[in-house]
């Protein structure tokens, strides 16, 4: 008998463990993909076909009618302008909230990790505490405060709320990232005559790309998916897409338009989905580099 010499690439073996892992992954994938598949199929079918059942089947006659209706004609109560209204509201809320909350978090995190601010640790502790208290606790007091100051139920109000509630997690994120940068860099910049803002803008910010991307992903998803704040603080004219979607789905006038509702749901989920697909790689990298962990 000749012995095979070990040489070159090691032959792969399929063990029970590998099979188990793949089976698990497959089941998990099916579990999460099935609802998405059903939604997509339903949104592409006319109502007659939906009534037949067969929710998993590819549509006999593919139609984009429900998508168009969902976007521009679906009704919430008497208002029949589709989810597009909510979409644009959400976009208008998202952009300033996103920029302001990330800017505030980055500056606070930078100040906390590099500048010996008096009471920095106490402040950071309070911020952390804020991150762990359930939002519901703050709702009523905030409503009262905003009502008194007169900005309740406005566009500015909802943006402010997103910035305030984004601050703890954003600060934590940036502080931890900046704590991993070598402090000698900061010292060198101080000796070179950099001040608070010039060091931040010229040296720290250019090194922050990975964490900026992670923060953007977190905030886009968080703000876009928000329902409670939008409903409570935005006011009737600024309701975000999630609230509007809920109104469409729950308004019962005659038969439920399942295909339109599914299309509206997919449309609502589109932005966070797109963000994940485009930047998932960065997100994983951010987590791996320890940026997200507490």
């Amino acid at each position: 008998m000749t012995m095979m010499q070990a040489s070159g690439r090691r032959p792969s073996r399929i063990s029970a463990g590998t099979i188990g892992i793949y089976a698990f992954l497959l089941i998990a994938a099916v579990f999460f993909l099935l609802p998405a598949w059903i939604m997509l199929m339903t949104s592409l079918k006319p109502m007659e076909e939906i009534r037949l059942g067969n929710i998993l089947m590819w549509p006999n006659a593919v139609t984009f009618e429900p998508w168009i209706r969902a976007w521009s004609e679906a009704c919430t109560g008497l208002d029949c302008r589709g989810v597009s209204v909510g979409f644009w509201n959400s976009v208008r809320i998202l952009i300033p909230s996103l920029i302001l909350s990330i800017a505030a978090g980055a500056v606070t995190g930078y100040a906390l990790s590099f500048w010996r601010v008096r009471g920095a640790n106490v402040m950071f502790g309070l911020l952390l505490l804020g991150a762990f208290i359930p939002y519901q606790v703050f709702l009523y007091p905030l409503v009262r405060i905003f009502a008194v100051t007169g900005i309740y139920n406005s566009f500015a109000c909802i943006v402010l709320v997103h910035v305030i509630f984004g601050l703890p997690i954003m600060t934590l994120l940036f502080r931890n990232y900046y704590a991993s940068l070598p402090v000698e860099l900061f010292k060198a910049a101080r000796v070179d005559g950099g001040g608070f803002w010039s060091i931040f803008i010229r040296i720290i910010l250019p090194m922050s790309t990975p964490i900026l991307i992670v923060a953007t992903i977190l905030q886009v998803t968080g703000i876009w998916n928000d329902f409670l704040f939008g409903l409570t603080f935005a006011g009737r004219d600024n309701l975000p897409m999630t609230v509007q979607l809920n109104n469409i789905v729950s308004s019962r006038q005659g038969e439920s338009q399942y295909n339109t509702e599914m299309a509206a749901t997919i449309l609502t989920a589109m932005i966070p989905l797109a963000v994940y697909f485009i930047s998932g790689r960065w997100f994983v990298r951010g987590i791996a580099s320890g940026a997200v962990k507490g």
Binding site: K187, V191, I203
Partner: protein, 359 residues
């Protein structure tokens, strides 16, 4: 030209005092090396001079100014760090120009100063690269260049060479020395725990341990006349040989006695009057013991020969002592061969065993 004067400086992190009433005077244009083991407070001292941390007590003077409360940029200093600390998103040119930009220096002057510093350090061809496109040695040159363009009166170096390999370290060490000779109006304070760097670079060495200054002096003073046992053992490689014993009097004058070893001490320059019976530690550097036919110490045997190229390190044993001798490269006594040793009396050091101070 600026002198640096540190007066009764105390630095505390929370409740732990890292420096406690430390004073140090550096003359203008001097090259001072702070030498000491890890954790002895060298970086802390340097950072305090730079204004990068708050002092609890005491003063820092640079030139004729009390800069204790000044911002780092207003102290007329430049600093080079162990980790280079180059701004990663800027190319070499902008790294070097950053400080000048912050000081609102005119464009033409920035350009001129950067070019001049780059030529001096031979990094002109690297000006458009980013730090991650440079080797370690090149990075440290850029870091030195960045300090150089600022025309500071005082240069602070915090272990600038310790991230480099041995060869580069030697190269850059020579260049830093040359640099100081070119710009000899600049005062340099250089932190290291590498004694070779300290001995080769310094005009004066400050040996620190446990947050305290142990000895301050020229490299020769530090090497040949260590002020206490710590300095004697810390400086010099291979290490100094130590013998514990006592002082005996006698008709022939004072002598050192350790077991059967006996060494007459006539000609030794005592710092303080010795007392007969005093416990002493005798220190002799490996190169200050020679092998002769008729030395005072007989009955030693060769135990090991380490070949170092230019010279050999010979370990010998006898009389319950083990000692190191540094001999020329052609001296290779056979293992086990008996040796007679003669210490060089002009280069021995005596310490009080109890206080560990030189006597």
């Amino acid at each position: 030209m600026s002198s640096v004067s540190i007066r009764d400086l105390t630095v505390a992190f929370g409740s732990t005092r890292v420096l406690n009433g430390l004073s140090l005077d550096v003359q203008a244009g001097e090259f001072i090396v702070l030498l000491g083991p890890s954790g002895c407070g060298k970086s802390t001292l340097l950072n305090a001079v730079a204004g990068l941390l708050d002092v609890a007590d005491g003063q820092v003077w640079i030139g004729e100014r009390n800069v204790t409360w000044h911002e780092p940029k207003d102290r007329g200093i430049a600093m080079v760090f162990q980790s280079y600390a180059l701004y990663p998103r800027m190319n070499v040119r902008n790294n070097m120009a950053f400080g000048l930009r912050m000081a609102k220096t005119p464009k033409a002057e920035i350009e001129e100063r950067v070019t001049r510093a780059a030529e001096l350090l031979q990094i002109s061809h690297l000006l458009d690269r980013r730090p991650d496109q440079l080797s370690g040695g090149q990075r440290q040159r850029v870091a030195i260049g960045r300090a150089l363009v600022r025309d500071a009166h005082v240069f602070l170096f915090d272990e600038p060479l310790s991230n480099l390999d041995a060869q580069l370290r030697n190269e850059l060490r020579v260049e830093i020395k040359k640099l100081h000779q070119k710009i000899d109006t600049t005062t340099m304070i250089y932190v290291t725990h590498d004694q070779i760097e300290a001995l080769t670079l310094a005009d004066r060495i400050v040996v620190m341990k446990d947050q305290k200054i142990q000895q301050m002096g020229t490299p020769d003073e530090i090497y040949l006349h260590p002020a206490n046992l710590f300095v004697a053992g810390f400086v010099g490689s291979p290490q100094m040989n130590f013998f514990e014993g006592e002082l005996t009097g006698g008709p022939g004058g004072a002598a050192f006695k350790s077991g059967e070893l006996h060494l007459p001490l006539d000609g030794y320059n005592f710092n303080s009057a010795p007392v007969t019976g005093q416990r002493l530690t005798l220190g002799i550097r490996p190169e200050h013991i020679s092998i002769t036919e008729n030395g005072p110490w007989q009955g030693f045997k060769t135990e090991l020969v380490e070949t170092h190229g230019a010279d050999n390190l010979i370990w010998v044993g006898g009389h319950n002592h083990s000692l190191r001798l540094r001999q020329p490269g052609d001296c290779k006594p056979a293992l086990g061969s008996p040796l007679t040793l003669a210490p060089d009396m002009s280069h021995i050091s005596l310490f009080d065993t109890q206080t560990s101070m030189r006597i």
